[in-house]
Amino acid sequence: MATMTSSETEKIEGARAKSFRLPPALISYLQAAPLTLILGSFLAVPILMIGMVSFWDYDFAQMYPDFVTFNYAETLGSWVTWKTYLNTLKFAFFVWAITLFIGFWVAYFLAFHIRTAAMQMVLFLVCTVPFLTSNIIRMISWIPVLGRNGLVNSTLISAGIVSEPIEWLLYSDFAVVLAMVHLYTLFMVTPIFNTLMRIDKSLVEAARDAGASSWQTLTNVILPLAKPGMAIGTIFVVTLVMADFSTVQVMSGGQSASVALMMKNQMSLLQYPAAAANAVVLLVFVLLMVAAIVRIVDIRKEL
């Protein structure tokens, strides 16, 4: 943005030197142009193309421009799709609930129990440390921990707590949710921390002066004011989980399906139109979910 404004000022100065002034309306259009161009060419056009391809015909090698609807009929008419959506929603719900709980309390601790701003920032940065390694590495490192002969099982067995290794730790829905919570909690912490920091401390004092217990302060003052942050965190986490394929594939050992994994399978078999139809359905679905969230909570309050 900075370079844009400076080039814009140069332009205005240049114009002034030649005693020529651009009409004000044109200037605003010019200012909006770079972002429009970027979003237009890298977001709008690709999505339109996906929409277009979803109506094409295909065989193993090629796509044929056409207008057929069987890609949608096959996608929406198959129980696999519905089951997969249900499964993905299940993951989204569990991951959302757990990350919201953990994320809120981490943010609450950082915002209200750490006194100095410097310490707050230091601890917040500590939260981001795991993000210095890649997603895949953080995910795969769970495998030797949870495996049949992994750390957890060998500890439990040698401590005499269980006699047989616990099978459901790895390659199960549990493992998928665990890894996703690990991957996505920070996306919940950050926006909630941000909103909590903006809460005027005098509001908390006023509540206490009015005789509210800590619990009442939390439920009547802090939680309502933290809602925009929670909503933004929710949007992050839900969209990330809905679009995830690698975590589901690796942590479930290929036994569980997610919508994005279904698309990836179709793409690896070069069934691009089918995958495109699937992508359009997912896009509409996620947009509806986001619309619902925005409807319930006014996130603009935060801005």
């Binding site: 193993f60 090698a61 089951k83 049949r148 390659y171 594939q249 036994q255 399906a257 070069l270």
Partner: protein, 428 residues
């Protein structure tokens, strides 16, 4: 595995001109006497793409040294290879593909058949690729057996010939017989049939591969071994047969028979090495990789026989003149023994066994091909010790293994339906 070497500054025209001039010169001087022509002065480049198993840097380097031909290699997975073969026919000179892919792409007219008279080692190719029979009394396996797509009547026809002709669609290079891999230390009993993977004793400790076109064949071997069904042709199932197979797999999955499904080579190695599974579909180099970690792993021969696959080199339809000559030269070099020995040493098989033998020590030949106990340590092409002295190859000799092929990897008429049902199995 991708080798990219590009020569800049030589246009296609000058390249062809100098190359054909040199070829003419070579022919005129009577240089073609059985020795490979050295192309070094006129840098011929051949672009080869394929499924990765045989796209080896060592081959490109040796080819450059022996023939002076620069090989540009691109490795892809099999679905992408099929697509590329059809949609970008000018992007490659040599197609290194499996026979079931050839069955898909040949009718598109992108591969030109080779004249067997120009193939120096055609007579040395094992009969498996000509008649489908390793020995005169062998039974022809089901699926896309290489000989069924190996010949055409004449250049230009899109349908395959019934028997041996002068026009060979691909020169076979690499093939193998696949079976189940087991952890002999953990299975605790004799494994002798494909049905053993469904034994309730191994509940939660088995895996099959999640690549539909190959996984369905493993599933078919299991189904037939259990006596659930008798396929007319495993390699070309009817819709009803596909349904029955997939429904069975879904039931087994929901009962918790499988621990995981693997898609890539390293996944299968890790599942086996960590003890998560004790019996699973596997590829022979993956078994070697588990063993090289010091963990017992056996490529268990089973009484129903093997699921086999084979690949070869095909000539792109656009090749002509000097480039075509160079391509023949390359293929003749490929089958002249050095590469065959290299592939044999990795546990695959070469199509021209006799030529490969000359490039292997008697002990290597005995271990890899004759099924004899190794007299000394068996060393991989990269110098790593693969087997200690005294080891015997799982499944025994070449004839024992390739003679017991029950089916070949294949492409079905109901391919799209099969893939859809397979996805249901994974989602179930």
């Amino acid at each position: 595995m991708t080798e990219k070497k590009t020569n800049k500054g030589i246009s296609r025209r000058t390249l062809l001109k100098t190359a054909s001039a040199a070829a003419g010169l070579a022919a005129g001087s009577g240089a073609i006497t059985g020795f490979p022509t050295i192309w070094a002065q006129n840098t011929i480049t051949l672009r080869q793409f394929g499924t990765g198993v045989s796209n080896l840097n060592a081959i490109a380097e040796k080819c450059k040294a022996d023939l002076g031909i620069t090989l540009e290699m691109t490795a892809t997975d099999s679905d992408a290879a099929a697509q590329r073969a059809v949609t970008q026919p000018n992007s490659y000179d040599i197609a290194d593909i499996e026979y079931w892919i050839l069955k898909k792409v040949y009718p598109a007219g992108v591969i030109q058949p080779m004249d067997v008279k120009k193939l120096k080692y055609y007579d040395k190719v094992v009969p498996l690729f000509k008649t489908g029979k390793l020995k005169p009394d062998s039974v022809i396996a089901q699926g896309t057996a290489p000989h069924t797509v190996g010949f055409v009547e004449k250049p230009g026809t899109k349908t395959f010939a019934k028997g041996e002709t002068q026009w060979f669609t691909m020169m076979p290079t690499i093939y193998n017989a696949d079976t189940l891999g087991i952890r002999p230390d953990l299975v605790g009993r004799e494994i002798s049939t494909w049905a053993d993977i469904m034994d309730p004793k191994f509940k939660g400790k088995t895996s099959i591969l999640n690549i539909p076109s190959i996984g369905i064949m493993d599933a078919a071997m299991i189904m037939e071994a259990m006596g659930n069904i008798k396929y007319a042709d495993k390699g070309n199932m009817t819709k009803a047969e596909i349904d029955k197979t997939i429904d069975f797999l879904i039931k087994a999955k929901q009962a918790g028979q499988f621990r995981a499904f693997w898609k890539s080579f390293d996944e299968s190695v890790n599942l086996m090495a960590s003890g998560e599974v004790v019996i699973q579909s596997m590829w022979s180099p993956a078994v070697a990789a588990v063993r090289s970690k010091g963990i017992a792993c056996k490529y268990q021969p089973l009484k129903e026989g093997y699921r086999s696959w084979g690949g070869g080199l095909g000539l792109a339809a656009h090749l002509s003149g000097a480039k075509l000559d160079a391509a023949y030269e390359y293929i003749n070099w490929y089958t002249s023994g050095w590469v065959g020995a290299y592939l044999n040493r990795q546990g695959y098989y070469s199509a021209a066994m006799e030529t490969a033998k000359q490039h292997m020590s008697a002990d290597e030949w005995g271990y890899w091909v004759e099924g004899k106990a190794a007299k000394g340590d068996i060393v991989a092409p990269d110098g790593k010790v693969m087997e200690k002295a005294g080891a015997v190859r799982d499944g025994g000799s070449f004839e024992e293994r390739m003679g017991k092929v029950a089916c070949w990897n294949s492409v079905m008429d109901e391919d799209r339906y099969m893939v859809r049902r397979w996805n249901e199995f994974i989602a179930a």
